[in-house]
Amino acid sequence: MRKLLLAGVAAITLSAFPAAAPSFAQEIKQGGSMTVTYKDDVSTLDPAIGYDWQNWSMIKSLFDGLMDYQPGTTELRPELAESYEISEDGTVFTFKLRQGVKFHNGREMTAEDVKYSIERTVNPNTQSPGAGFFGSIKGFEEASSGAAEGLSGITVEDPHTIRFDLSRPDATFLHVLALNFAHVVPKEEVEKHGADFGKNPVGTGAFKLGEWTLGQRLVFERFEDYWNKGLPKLDQIVFEVGQEPVVALLRLQNGEVDVPGDGIPPAKFVEVTNDPKFKDIIIQGGQLHTGYVTMNVKMPPFDEVEVRKAVNMAINKDRILRIINGRAVAANQPLPPSMPGYAKDYKGYAYDPEGAKALLAEAGLADGFETELYVMNTDPQPRIAQAIQQDLKEIGINVSIKSLAQANVIAAGGEEGQAPMIWSGGMAWIADFPDPSNFYGPILGCGGAVPGGWNWAWYCNKELDAAAAEADSIVDPARAEERIAKWSDIYLKVMEDAPWAPIFNEERFTIRSERIGGDDKLFVDPVHIPVHYDEVYAKDVQ
């Protein structure tokens, strides 16, 4: 087997990185503190388990994985790995680990730890929400069902070399290794704390946990022995939880808070963005998110493609954007604009109520019909649902709105024949990693159209599933463009069947105090959501 040597590429990225993280790496002095607030409690800081808004980026600062992204971008780069090689058939990934990386407890990290950490995530006893991402590693079935102890596809070749054997070529594997679920944990600490490891996290990250007062605050302290010298920029981050976003904003004005982690609350959006005091500290960024209406293709009359197209044409997206004060851009396809594979030239279904009526008549439903729209019950979702309800009434579809708690809408979507239509707002898909494949499998593929799945349209197109598998088997980076084109095509085919009516892609609006510096991109980082804690700095120590 001829090995496709990628080490060179990796080395270039790597040598570019200290300089690229960026020119200010030399000039910026380390030190200072930052205060961040969140409304909800931080649930756990265990990388195998944490999967919510608050802890996602916090975990990334306490732990590291083999891969990560250039700060503020969606560009992959090696992190704990120094270099990697991918076999020509795309099924063997070999990583050379960085030397001298230390855990917060002082022990050196080795390849055994990497193996242990991923096997721990896959182990059913861990109850990790991320186990499924590792499905392409050999031995996954046995390990995830508990039949085998570890993953036969992970081999430690020497303390600083680890090899992954995959059961199929997987072009997304490097992204998977950048997920929190693949972050490296020290076995002895996990065993010491057992189920409470998530409250006593120990990793190799730029920060270590200093203090955690449950329900009140957490303090992250700089890890002095961090392998990446120069990072983190800050000495300390204080997280205060249980703070309403509106209150956080008032405290920011008083200088008590630097970053309100939940962003600008919708109710204050217009006021804040028009306020000259805030004008210069608001940062806008794209988000790998799409809000959509699903139509259950197994429930008549949505089994008729004409009806689904009619709904697509009947919804006035511009009006919905006005309802949310323009905090989004209109969508016409499943992928968001900042995702590779987004079809720029695709026009989608334009707003055309007359055309929609004609399509309904074609389907033999000239008199319209009655149906239900499920929606999550927090503002502004019910108002958006009402706008959709009015639009659909125009073409004769009488929609009754079912406004429920988030968990209940998700449960209804996962039950066949339960929810004819769902507005995804408040629980919509935000990509786990910046690759077009991440918008397909669970939400549009056959695999997700199962009880308890997230494919709420119950759309299952075997041909597209095959095309998706084919695209993801293209691992050769030289053919990356070809692969992206294939994915682009898949989503346009999905739109021909119209199981969704894509509505908008949310934009993120965030705010930071004058005191905190760093490239705007770091505050709307597409991966380290919501803030890239390692890279931002304090202006008052400069």
């Binding site: 059913p124 991320g130 186990a131 008590e256 708690a405 449960a411 199962v450």
Partner: protein
Amino acid sequence: MLAYIARRLIQTVLILLGISLVTFVLLYLVPADPARQIAGRSATAATVENIRQQLGLNLPFHEQYLRYLSGLLNGDLGRSYLQRTEVSTLIASRLPASLLLMAGAILCELLFGLTMGVIAALKRGTRTDDTLMIASFIGVSAPQFVIGILLLYVFAVQLGWFPIGGYGTFAHLVLPSITLGFLGAGWYARMMRSSLIDVLRQDYIRTARATGMSRTKVLLGHALPNAILPIIAMIGIDIGLFMSGIVVVESVFGWPGIGQLAWQAIQRVDIPIIMGVTLVSACAIVLGNLIADLITPLIDPRIKLR
């Protein structure tokens, strides 16, 4: 007396059992699947099933309930689904904040309620009386989140006298305590007024005045102590009222107590936390009532416990 307490304690246990059963049934009927929630959106059906088995969610209802009860008897409230921490740890870490807030609220309601009641009683029939009674009426009727946000806006944002929400110092305690105590203050003002008016009509007050004691002395030495007694017994019952109030007040002020914990858990259907907080609150209410019942005969010898 001891027999009475024993009987009441047995009743208490039965009431708590009933509450645990009702809550458990209600949460069981919620159409959200905890296993799916834990497993997350990327999980396979097998993973979900595995989690369901580990948590015993696949068992029939009565077995699940018995499992929970047997845990409860061993002092085990279970582990939070989403926080992955012992519920007892979570509640214990937040209980002091809630107790502090309640103490502040009791202080506020006594301070405001009794003062208003005494003034209204002494100025009975005047405009002052009317104004105070209207104020107390507003106190008992206004929703706490409205009062909380108003106080926050005026005293913290506009005037800057107090911090804008949060926890830690005495200044943080003032506004939430007033908000939580406002409702009780309204009740106490009305009760204190009628109680004091009653007492002031009594013969012994007239006698005391006739002996030449000053008005102030009679009021402080004879009238008030007698008028205040029925109100003291009410405090126990207030603890129950506070349990519902803290959910709102703690959310408005970002107060890290069990009310906030419950509110976050409800939004995310974290069943073990909801169960745990409900049971702890139920305990507080039942014990509060028990204390109120036990204090009453000490205050008023005409009442006998049987």
